[in-house]
Symmetry: none
Subunit: 216 residues, 4 copies
DNA sequence: GATGAATGAGATTTCATTCAT
DNA sequence: TATGAATGAAATCTCATTCAT
């Protein structure tokens, strides 16, 4: 099943040859401090009303320092989201690797997603702290696109292996993503929160659709 | 089928007896002017970077006048969104009235939604001008909730009439909404834009799921 | 003793001949409503940060109506203060009438003042609600001046009657007023509040000074 | 006599070791510029009608800079007043040091106060530019309280040394302050302005009272 | 690279006042 | 006379960003 995956989530491989010096280390530390402060601030007062100032204030750094790392709050948010999505993407890759067949992949993928939502969900804010919804223009960061395309590619590959019938894979991937999002939102509002049930529901829906075939 | 609907989107008819005076008329006109200006501004420079100032500037009114009608740009956006959703809700009501059976209702509802998306989509901005996604905190305006609850009620009613099997109607409604959203986003990016195909895709998915029954 | 007083507290005698019609009555009611609202507002948020709007809002009247009665918040404040001082002035007049000699007048006057302070003192605000201190430029309303001049005249008259020695009556009246003010401020902060003690203290001081005679 | 004073107006001497860098120097300069501009503005158009804008305008600084130093016009005014009172407090300390007995202290203190009023009196505004009365809520800044308490302590100490009889020292200090204030106001309005006469008047009054003893 | 004060444009919002109804 | 929406000047304050230290 792992051949479904063209390439992994990537990430910079620059660190492999050379150990980071003290300078680079300090830089990484500062960057991380800013990111975490931003996370906190966004979660507390909301992305929109947050300002670069608010972020810096939550930091031990000086205002000017911010600009050595990011050009704007938008950039921080993107980095934050990208990190979040990258975390999910890594899990999706694991799922893909371990899956023995398409059904296992689908069920594992939904489960991974809903577990992820539960983990990142901040009950104080009544929302996942960093997610698509946080950035005003829904879902167009590179990582999001990448996840979407991976899902589409996975479906296509399954089709080529004869595991799923012919379909409009674009719509199909969109339907999966949309379902997962909305069902996820409802899931976290229920008590008890049950990612297993949410995953089953979505996976069942997908298999029902696939069983019907291309004509619907 | 029309018995599914308890009451339509309504709106108070209290105003019928007395004609509004010049004052009241002017107020309505001003409110509308602000709303349209806001719509224009959001479409042009985006919700986030828009300011109250920008909205006022697009208006023949004085700056202070804005605050006689709305307390913030968020409030205008909400009003704008509510109006938009109310328009869709009215169509959904029509669909429900005319539908001879549950299948007709489902197909009609998706078709109505995608037609609606096409109409409200602003190709210049590459997005539907006013929709849930536009407001940073995703979707919990009264109208949105109302639409969601209507859909859920429709499903339940159909279940009671024996037209659909037992299901987690909350998740099911969420899945429908999520699918419609994401598929709608993809639809408008395709050329040609084909709301019929999108509607068929989603309706088919729904019927596939329903055919499978509660166990998936 | 009553010959000390040149003229009484005055007030408009216009009402004497003609009974006020309904119109005039309504006017008086509105004026009073505004004054009381202003009193409340000043006591709550302070004179300086209060606005005409705040006053109107505390009223059943419309904004435009305010300007039929007062030209600005300053004017309301002055009216308020004048009313307050006029109330004290009336009492001072009573004291003067009843006093059998200068000592009785002085003791009665201080007592009247400290009783007055206690009554007008708003413990919530920790200050007398309407007093000189409320208007930024200390003490120059007509009523205040009038009270000051009455006191000076009383001293001079007593001097002419041989009850007090020759003195700088301007400074002497000022000293009395200043003592009364500051001692009053301290008095209301003590527990229990004891206007009798404050009055005794001040009166004693005055008589000590007078006993010493013009050379100090 | 100098043993009356426990500690002088003080101020931290911590800065002695290290010379302030250019940054710190600039900060001090800017702060001073704002304070002087505020002083000028208050004297010209009055405290109440002055705005932060007016103050900034009188400055070579940018508008935002104001807020690096003060949070509001109230805060500037308080700082200004505190500085003014601190100046007087320093003189009072000198008087206390040099006084050979209580009488010398009292006469010197009143003289110092009235001289001070004359110096700070702005004849253009017809009032002392910065004084308690200028701030709407009368007199409770730290420096004011400190001066009041010093006076009370001085009285108590004199009592312990047997120089003055037992008294209500709180009321007595209040009476001194009140007299000084009001007499000061009258003094500056006279022509010629005679601080010596004002001081004599007040000091005489105090000694008259003290000579009478606690029972009045 | 880090610092943090200065900048000044600009956003929000309030305000006193007017005036058509 | 009362009303209350409209006005637009003006006040407050924040902000992202720069740059001397």
């Amino acid at each position: 099943m792992s051949e479904i995956l063209a390439q992994g989530p990537g990430g910079d491989r620059s660190g492999s040859g050379r150990r980071p010096g003290k300078r680079a280390e300090a830089k990484a530390v500062n960057r991380e401090e800013i990111l975490q402060a931003a996370q906190r601030v966004f979660a507390t007062i909301g992305y929109e009303s947050a300002s670069v100032r608010d972020i810096i204030r939550e930091t031990s750094l000086a205002s000017g320092t911010f600009y050595n790392y990011f050009r704007s709050k938008e950039e921080v948010a993107e980095a934050l989201m990208d990190e979040s999505i990258a975390r999910f993407r890594a899990r999706l890759t694991q799922v893909r690797r371990k899956a023995v067949d398409f059904e296992a992949y689908v069920r594992g993928a939904f489960r991974a997603y809903f577990d992820f939502v539960v983990e990142e969900y901040d009950s104080a804010r009544e929302q996942a702290v960093v997610r698509a919804g946080h950035l005003p223009s829904r879902g167009e960061t590179p990582s999001q696109k990448a996840v979407f395309e991976e899902i589409r590619a996975d479906l296509r590959a399954a089709h080529e292996r004869g595991e799923v019938p012919g379909l409009d894979f674009g719509f199909f991937a969109a339907a999966c993503v949309g379902m997962a999002r909305e069902v996820g939102e409802r899931m976290v509002r229920r008590d008890p929160v049950d990612p297993g049930a949410a995953a089953s529901f979505c996976a069942d829906a997908v298999f029902a659709l696939l069983a019907r075939g291309p004509e619907g």
